[in-house]
Each structure stands twice: as C-alpha cells, then as structure tokens.
C-alpha cells in the first residue's frame, strides 16, 4: 500500500513570534522554520507502517515556497521514499493545500493519506477534512492510534469527552494528534542519503488548480498583554487575596 504524507513548513514551535509594526502579518524574517510538529508525527506513522510491512512506499508532499524543500528533505531523511513539491509563492490556506493534495491523490492512488491535525501557524485544523471531502474519502481526524487490517483502518480519535474508535474503508484520510507516536530524529547518514532521493517539482497550474485563498488577511495584532501580578508569600496570603481582592472565591 502506498502512503501519502503531507508536510508543512512552519515557524519552529519554540519561537515566540512578533507582529510586524505595520500590522500586516507576523514577522518571519530570520525566524527559525521547521516541519510542523503534527507533520513529524504523520511522517513517523508512515515510516512505522512501512517497518511493519503494511506500507510499501511513502510519498511526502508539500505545497509552498522553494524553501519548503528543506522539510521534504527532512521527510526523506526520516524514511519517505520520494517527494513532491507543489511550488508556489502564494499564501496557501487549507483549501488551496487540500486542492493540490486532492489532485495528487488522484495521480498517485495511495491507500492512506496522513496529515497533521493542525498547522501551528494558522491553527486552522482543516486540510485533512477538506481533502477527504474533495476526494470523497472517509476521514479519521485527531488520531491517537491507527490499525490497518483487512482493507480497513481502525482509527482511535481524541475527542472532547475521551476517545472514539471508527472503522474506515480504504483509501482513507487520517490526521494525527499528539499521542499517535513519538517521532524519531533523522540520523546523519540518512540525511546524506536523502539528498539523492527523487523530488518532483510541480506548479499548481501543472495540477490544473489555483491555490489562492478567498480569505483576505486585513490585520494582525498582538493579543492583549497580560500584566504579571504579584508573588504571595504563603497559602494564607493567597487565600486572603482570592477572597478579598480578586473576590473569585467565597
């Protein structure tokens, strides 16, 4: 079974972002970029499926600027067999990414597509669900366990009240939650080998789609700053402040 994995280049999760002084966007100049953490989990899951003999080939895909090839190389170093870069300098929102991925699903006919549940820049949490709609495939979102058996996928999902398990026909779309697995690090020899693995570059026009979004970003502002408060010296003082100053307990 072929597995397609979608990876997105985003700001490193440790970086505290700054808003541009003209409020047009966040400032990404000289900021450390990385693979979206949920995509790392998606790649890891695909690699584990291959190690278990369930997956036969892993194709990593990204939609974005030239620099995003860095994240595809990381996916190749982690165990993907080849990569496809849909190159564009447009601001790609989830629907545009899903349209590109849907075309690639049509071309590649994977048995399973794994995406992150959410990109930590836009915090959208949409692409996998949209891809499922566009391809007419079932979806298992926010997965904490995926078992492939008898041409079906059993997906355990992290939902608000606890866990839910679904059975999906294949091909299916899965999005990863934090507890699906713990991603490995790429080893140096694998990083060297990854440089020789094949990478296809296509344009959105090659795929016959447009990725531009109908959403305009009018303004980006920093959130209301919270004033740090005071340190209290004892539990007694804390209880007193909560009762008599903040008046949040009685």
């Amino acid at each position: 079974m072929k597995v397609l994995v979608a990876v997105k280049r985003v700001i490193d999760y440790n970086v505290k972002i700054r808003v541009k002084p003209d409020n047009s966007d966040v400032d990404l100049t000289n900021v450390k970029m990385a693979m979206n953490p949920f995509c790392e989990i998606a790649v890891e899951e695909a690699v584990r499926l291959k190690e278990r003999g369930v997956a036969t080939e892993i194709v990593a895909v990204t939609v974005g600027p030239k620099a995003a090839q860095e994240q595809l190389r990381t996916a190749l170093a982690l165990g993907a067999d080849r990569a496809i870069h849909v190159e564009t300098d447009e601001r790609v929102e989830s629907l545009g990414a899903a349209k590109a991925l849907a075309r690639l699903v049509e071309e590649e006919q994977p048995g399973l597509v794994i995406l992150g549940k959410q990109a930590i820049d836009t915090d959208n949490n949409q692409t996998g669900q949209m891809l499922a709609a566009l391809t007419g495939l079932p979806q298992g979102t926010f997965a904490s366990e995926v078992v492939i058996e008898n041409d079906k996928a059993q997906v355990t999902r992290e939902i608000d009240g606890g866990l839910q398990t679904l059975e999906l026909t294949l091909p299916a779309i899965v999005t990863t939650d934090l507890r699906l697995n713990e991603p490995r690090y790429a080893k140096l020899p694998d990083i060297m080998k990854a440089k020789k693995k094949p990478m296809d570059v296509k344009s959105p026009a090659d795929l016959g789609i447009e990725v531009a979004s109908k959403i305009t970003l009018l303004k980006v502002e920093p959130p209301a700053e919270r004033q740090g408060g005071v340190k209290v010296g004892s539990v007694d003082e804390l209880v007193d402040k909560l009762k008599n100053e903040a008046k949040v307990i009685s």
Partner: protein, 308 residues
C-alpha cells in the same frame, strides 16, 4: 442574511456551547436556524428551541447521524447550506471534524475559531497559539465558521422557536462507529467551569492528582492538565488544556506544577484570575499569573485544601 448553527450535544442533552455559538450568530445578524442532527434527539431539539434569537430548529433525527460522523453529517449540512449565508458550529472536536468537510463540499474556505465578529464577512481569530490575533475577511458567498465558545457570552433561554423535521438521509458506507471511551466525571465540564485547577508534570504521577481533587471539590472546579501530564499518562487526553487541547477562560484558573509553555498559555490566558503554584520562581507561568506562589506543591496543596 440567514445563519445555520449546528447544535452541539452530548449524552442526550444540548451542550452549553451551543448558546455561545447562537450569540456569535446574533453578532453577525439575520435569521438564525439551529440544526439538531443525531439519533433520538427530540429533547435536544426542544432545548434548542428555547434559545433566545433562534427562529427555527431543524431536526435530522436518524440513525445515519448517530455519533455525528463526519461523512453523513457534512453531507447533510451541505445539502441544507443553500438556504443560508453562514454556517456556524462550535470549535469542539465535532465542529472541527465536520465543518471543514462542509466547506470543501461547497468549495469555500472555512474560518476557524473566531473570537469576535467585526461584520458579516469580517472576523477576528487567534493564530500562532494565540500570540497574534488576525482580522480576516471572506469573499465567499457562503461563510463556514467555527466559533470559540469563550469568545461570546451565551444567549438566554426565553425563546420559543418552531421545530421542523429534515427528511434528507445521507448514506454512508465508508465509516462505522466502533466504540467510545468517555471519561466519567461528576465535576463541571472543563470548557464551562467557573473554576479550573490544572496539574502539570510537576504532579509527578496520576495518583497525586487526588491532591487537586480535594480542592476542586471545595471550589466546584473542573480539573485540567498540561500536555506533559497527559503524555506521561497521569490523566486522560480530554483533560489537556492548550493550543491543541481545550480552551478555557474561567473566573479562576489555578496552574499547579506547570511551567507555562506558550502552547499551554494559549488555552488559559484569557482566564479572569490566574494563580500559579510552582517551586521554580523563574517559571514563565509567573509572567501571566495574577497571584504566584513559589512553593513545593506537595506542601502547598494540602494546606490550601485545609484553608478553603
């Protein structure tokens, strides 16, 4: 304008979050219909009809919609969407699962987790774990939106909307419900509680969460956790507060043994009053805490419980 709100419900009851989503719909303006989809949802539809501002409740009561699986539920909403300018749902795991699928079926964008309505086509939403607030405008004819419940005050329950059945039945051969393991708790729901007390890695293990329970009992609080505490297996996933867990904004949030990573702050920094108990006086949580107590939690918690 006309707005369709997907009702959120659990265990046969309308979830409180729905009243917050209806409030967001009122801020947009126009006729508001609520869609109640599920199996045996009559009482839920009656509860939805009482929400202020709702003109009509549309009820799709069919086994096809049990557990609100994404495939049939999105097909149902896409079928009804032609009558509306906006489709709203709460940014719960149900709303987040279903609404992007609806949007793509209708070839429109989806706007996630709005916290404010500027106009019928312009909304505010947090990005980058809440470290920036974006104002976005949609050109799409149909706007598909999830709403962060904490951003809008709930509407009241003095209404009397009409209730009508929806006949459309989506067929679904692709996904089947297998089972659910839901946490049982007598405590208030995390998202709705007035007081939340959360434990982090500093709690050391799952048993030690009993130290929080005594306090939660006295304060009528819900209990939350950091990702580190969930990953370590101290407590179940549904207790995670943060960028990728639950968003809470109670009157009082008490963070115990939690360092204050940006991903955790994203889920609780809109709380009215924040208390942090941490033995490391440099912990970043103190930068957002109204009241910080530098102490070993194993000493501070029993004392706090006895003094409340």
């Amino acid at each position: 304008m006309s707005i369709l709100v997907l009702a959120e419900h659990h265990d046969g009851a309308l979830a409180g979050a729905t009243a917050h989503v209806v409030a967001a719909a009122q801020a947009i303006g126009g006729d508001i219909d609520v869609l109640v989809a599920g199996e045996n949802v009559g009482p839920i539809a009656e509860a939805a009809a009482k929400l202020d501002g709702v003109s009509k409740v549309r009820v799709a009561d069919n086994a096809a919609y049990a557990h609100l699986l994404a495939e049939p539920t999105a097909a149902l909403i896409a079928e009804l969407a032609g009558d509306y300018s906006h489709v709203l749902a709460c940014a719960s795991t149900t709303g987040k699962n279903v609404l992007p699928r609806v949007a793509a079926l209708k070839d429109v964008a989806q706007i996630s987790e709005i916290i404010a309505v500027e106009s019928a086509d312009t909304f505010k939403r947090p990005i980058y774990a809440g470290n920036a607030i974006a104002t976005v405008q949609s050109e799409d004819a149909l706007k598909v939106i999830t709403v962060r419940a904490t951003g809008f005050d709930a509407v009241g329950e003095g209404g009397g909307a009409s209730v009508e059945a929806v006949d459309f039945v989506a067929d679904n051969t692709q996904s089947t419900f297998v089972k659910e393991e839901l946490a049982q708790s007598d405590r208030p729901e995390l998202g709705a509680a007035k007081v939340v007390i959360s434990g982090g890695r500093g709690m050391g293990n799952g048993e030690n969460f009993t130290l929080l329970e005594g306090i939660a009992d006295k304060l009528g609080a819900a209990i939350g956790a950091s990702r580190a505490a969930v990953d370590a297996g101290f407590v179940p996933n549904d207790m995670q507060v943060g960028q990728t867990g639950k968003i809470v904004a109670p009157d009082l949030y008490i963070a115990v043994g939690i360092s204050g990573a940006i991903q955790h702050l994203a889920g609780m920094k809109d709380s009215k009053v924040i208390v942090a108990i941490n033995k490391d006086e440099e912990a970043p949580i103190f930068q957002v805490a109204d009241y910080g107590l530098v102490a070993d939690l194993f000493e501070a918690l029993p004392e706090l419980e006895s003094k409340l």
